[in-house]
Every structure is written in C-alpha cells, then in structure tokens.
Point group: C2
Chain length 369, copies 2
C-alpha cells in the first residue's frame, strides 16, 4: 500500500460545492482517444503497451498538466490490489482498469479534477470531474487538454466515423458525459422507475455508484449518454445538461412533497433520524449499509432537519468509509469483518467530532450574544 | 381519564431495586379467596356483586390496609377504558378484570406493593409485589393480610380440597407465585426454548409481560407455578425460589458468554448500541419495538457497556411508554398513530435528560479532582 497520503485529501466530486449540489455530487466528461498506427491495448503486446505508456507520460509533460502525478498500475512491487481499488473508489480508474493485466497507468492532475487512464480499453481515457452540476465547465477543461495532446499525439481519426475506439459504442466523439446524482426522494416515492424508463427512451442510461456494470448504492445514480456518434460534443453536453436539469427539478419537487403531508412527514423524518441513530451507534457496519444511511441523512440535511451532522463530514464518510480507503488509512490489509468494525469506529469518531463542534459553536454563539 | 396523578409515580416492580435485580424485575404472590355462601362472581347477579364489593371494602378498612385506595371499575361516569388499561399496564389488574362486565373494583395499598381485585374470577384476588427476587418477602406480606381478612370474612374452605375457587386449577392454596424475569441472553443464545421445556416438566409455566394469555415482549417472562393443589404455601414459594435461582444463574452465565468471544462480543455490542440508536432517534415507535430496544439496552447496562442511559430512566420508560400511560400523561385519548409519535418524543426527552446529567456529572467530577 502506497497511497496513504492521497487518502487524506478530499476528492473534487465530494467537495459538496458547485451548482445544484443538493442533488448533483459531480459532473464528469470523459474522452476516448487512441494513437494512430498502434493496436488497441487488448491487441497490443506488453512492449507496445509499455511504449504507449511512456509516450503518453512524456507528452503530458509538455502540456498544462506537466505537474500531474503518474502512477504505474503494473510495475512489479508497485501499487497493490488495495491501492488499485482505492483509485477506483476515488472514481479515478474503472473497475476494469483496476483488474486488468495490461502494462497500464493513470495520470492524476492537481486536485484530481483532470485524470487519464492509459491502456484501459483505449490508449487514452481522459476524464474531467467538476463538483455539482457543471458539465460545461468539465467539458471546457477537458477540451483544452485534448487540444494540447492532439498537437503531439496523432489520434486515430476517420473523416467518416470520427475518433476511432476499441469498442464501436465509443466511436465518433469518444465522449461520454455523466452526472453522479443523489435521488433519494424519487426512490422513496417510487417515481424513479418511471424516470429511468423515460431516460432510456431518449438515449440516456443510469448506472451504479462506480459507473458501468456497478450497483446502485444509497440512491446515487450515474446518469450518462448512451451514444457518442451522430452528435457534436457540444450537443451531447447540452443534451445531458438539459435532461439533468429536469431530473434535478423532479427530485426537488419530490423532496418538497415528503414534508407537506403530516403522515409522510413523520415517516420521512423517522426514516432519516433512524438512519442517523444506526450510523452513530453501530459497532459493525458494511459500506453498503453506510451509504444507505448517509444517503438518508444527506436528504435530511437538505430538508432542513436538525441533524447533528455536518454536510462535509457526510461527504468525507461517503469517500473514506469505502473498503480500500479504510485500509489505506489503517495502513494494513484487513478482513471484511475487521473492516466493518473499523468502519463503525471511524464513523462514530467523525460524527462525534461534528457533535462537539456544534456544541462548541453553540457556546460561542451564547458568549458572543 | 382520572389517573393522571398515579401515572407520575413509579411502580414497585420497576424500582430497579431488590435482590438479583439484574435479572428479576419483580416477585409476585397472589391468593384467590371466596366468601362462603356467596356465588362466584360469574354466577352472582349485580346486586350480589355489589354486596361483595361493599363487604370487602368495609372489611379492608379494619385491617392494616385501612389507608388503601379503592377504585370502582364499574361505576357509571367512573374509570374509563384508558384508566382500566392503565391499571393493567401497572400490573394491578388482569386483562380480564379490565374488560369484564361485573360490578367490580380494585384496592391499591401504599406504594402499590399490596393490591386486590374484587370480583375478578374469584371474590378476592390478593396480590403482593416486591422488587427483585424476593418471593418470601412477598409471601410474608400477603400472608399477614390474608390472616387479617380471615378474621372478618368467612372464606370458602373445604377440609378435603382447601380453599375453594371459581376455577379448579386455583383450588387448594389458591396461591400463585411468579417472577417477572428479564432473560435476553437466554433468548439471544436460543437456550430459552430448552429452559422453557424443562420448566413445563416440573410444573412451572412461562407467560408474557402482562401475565396469563399475553405475549412475551422484550425478553421479559413471567415464570409461575402451574398447580396450587397438593403442596403447602411455603413449598410452592420455596419451589419457585429454587427454580428461579437456577434460571438467574443460567441467564447470568449466558450473559458472560456474550462478551467472551470476540465476534460474539462485537455482535452483542452492535445489537445493543443499535437498539439505543433507534430508540434515541425514532420519530414514531410502537410499544412493542420500544420494549425490545429497552430490553437490549438493559442487557447492555448490566454488561457494563458505556451507554448514555440511566437504569432508572430505562425502567421508567418500560412503564410510561405503554399506551394507556401515555394517554394518562397527555390527558387525552390518542389514536395509535398519535401515540407512536408522542412515545418517540417522550423517549427522546427522557434520554436527553440522562445524557445531560451524565455530561454535567463529568463536569462536576472534573471540577472536584
């Protein structure tokens, strides 16, 4: 394990900032790019994979990302399984990239806003993350890095098809845009099914917490465009921005409804406070249970309930309570049982800190008035 | 509703005092007596029922119980349904006595230690309650009242059968002895089934929280003798004392085991703290859920866990969170939904008081050292 230092930093997607942060945790754009004349990673032998890895690293040094960190995911004695899972938990690499057998790496820009997987399915997978609902910002940032890289790297491009990619579903713009949305009220009211059905009709898909092929946890959904062909980059970004806005409004309306009728209000408050009670008192807890409670508490805070939890602590826990994060912090490999106990302890520590802060703050307010 | 004042007092069986109070909440003796020459209540018309009620009330005034309170359960404009349920929740009258259509009453001695139902199944049902495991004390107290009453009332007695009662199962001594036991560790370890089977073999039965025909709630069991014939009073009392002691030892041994193995320890602590978390945070809660959580927290306190709950508050809640108690305190009839909300609020208030006391106590300790 080598990423203890990184575990101490927050990720941009959990800063709790940005537009519409009540509903949207982060906005993400990724671009798939390949180097002309080189076989796709799955068809390349290890020496070609190494060549590409080196080439990309050298090229990035010539761009505005010259300060970025490069991590080799395949060097012997380098990053281990927990480190790779840790990067996945931070949404910096995909599940496949964590598991794969290729010579491969990841570039991480300052503040983790810009990153790049090298030799995942494509030679380059560029990613831009912004807190809140800010797809245009994310796109602008990534677009300029793409332009910079294109000056040095001959990207595989066809006049007819656009950018060429290992999987045809990415061909064209190579662009995927997504938002990590928190939709507890739509889940609670069971309107979510209806929303997801309508999304699929207009070429938008909903995925789980860690992206493609992963499970929906704690009412967090990744909403993204399904096709990359036949539209310009700006059209794709604008499209998800428009649809995203509709989902945000729908979720907000559902949240208001949760507090208007008296029985629903009691039930909602009961569910939320019970989630807090369990989280603050459990002596052993899985990440899945944790994220479910965090989801409810997050909703409670936005509903204005008087919960003794700071929204920042909430976001921090969403990140740090993940299995590999816990192990990086503990600096040792832990069994699942050990993790569940440590997680519960860690959560209680964090929540107690909030309670103390709130009490101290009350005292300060009292003294100054 | 007329019993608001009484609702403010604690009952003897929840004082948390007495021998073996870790396991035994209360010890109870009851005697069934009938007045010779008068039909049993079920066979008596209302005027005979009234005559008996008057006779008993007048007679009690001549005894050491002269200060006792008499409540008429059938007088028009008198105690209502909630009042009667309230008395049942305090273990002063039976479920049947609360529901019945007879001219009937209840006598309540000082501190609710001695009480008597008049015109339940039998003319007189005398009851003595002691906190903790103290069957002999309870018997001594009731025995002397029985002697006093026998001076004035001609009890139906046969040389061959002993005291005659409406139901043959009570004939003989008319004595039933019982202990309200808290057996969470035996329930948790699933050894309780084995214990209950063995009890039934030796003529001991286990009943629910409110006695015969009621449900087991929160791991609280009423253990009592099944037969009243063929043994002397002292033999019956000694028998349950001996068996009770064995159950106490078995429960205590099981409790110790809960903390010895590390996985069991974590699981036990987790279960107990989660119960606390739910109780302290719920916004709506039934009495059944409440008693289940209180049971676990009670276990936790005796296991030495650092729970922010005072044992007295725990006992108070066990009593006051009951439906009729809540309504007496609120001084109005409430729907089940309203009760669940009020109960949750009431519990939080009580628990917060404990937390504040604990914090204040810590401050005092700090200042004095």
């Amino acid at each position: 394990m080598q990423l203890q230092e990184m575990a101490k930093n927050k990720t941009v997607w959990l800063s709790g900032e940005g537009p519409e942060s009540e509903v949207v945790l982060s906005s993400r754009i990724r671009l798939a790019r390949n180097i002309s004349g080189k076989p796709f990673p799955a068809r390349a032998n290890r020496s070609i994979q190494q060549e590409i890895l080196n080439l990309v690293e050298e090229t990035v040094k010539k761009t505005s990302m010259s300060e970025a960190t490069f991590l080799n995911l395949s060097a012997p004695g380098g990053l281990d399984k927990i480190d790779r899972q840790f990067l996945m938990e931070r949404h910096l690499i995909s599940y496949e990239h964590a598991q794969a057998n290729f010579v491969r790496g990841v570039m991480i820009g300052p503040g983790e806003k810009i990153s790049m997987m090298i030799n995942e399915e494509d030679h380059l997978r560029l990613q831009s993350l912004e807190p809140g609902f800010a797809l245009n910002n994310a796109w602008d940032n990534l677009n300029s890095l793409d332009d910079e890289l294109a000056k040095f790297l001959p990207f595989a491009f066809s006049q007819q098809w656009g950018f060429l990619t290992a999987c045809p579903t990415n061909t064209g713009t190579g662009l995927r845009t997504s938002c990590l949305m928190h939709l507890p009220a739509l889940v609670h009211s069971e309107e979510i099914e209806h929303v997801l059905q309508n999304l699929s009709k207009i070429g938008i898909v909903a995925r789980g917490f860690y992206g493609e092929g992963t499970k929906v946890l704690g009412d967090f959904f990744q909403i993204s465009n399904a096709t990359t062909l036949g539209q310009t980059e700006n059209e794709i970004v604008d499209n998800l921005s428009r649809v995203g806005k509709q989902i945000i409004d729908y979720e907000k309306k559902s949240r208001t409804k949760l507090l208007t009728e008296s029985i629903t209000k009691t039930k909602t408050e009961d569910t939320i406070y019970r989630a807090y009670g369990l989280l603050a008192n459990a002596r052993t807890i899985t990440y899945e249970e944790t994220i479910n409670h965090l989801s409810k508490i997050r909703l409670g805070i936005y509903l204005g309930l008087n919960l003794p939890v700071d929204i920042n602590i909430l976001n921090e826990l969403l990140l740090l309570a993940q299995p590999a994060h816990l192990q990086e912090i503990a600096n040792k490999e832990l069994s699942s049982t050990q993790r569940d106990v440590l997680r519960a302890e860690f959560i209680r520590q964090k929540l107690n800190k909030t309670t103390k802060n709130k009490i101290d703050q009350k005292k300060i307010n009292k003294n100054t008035t």
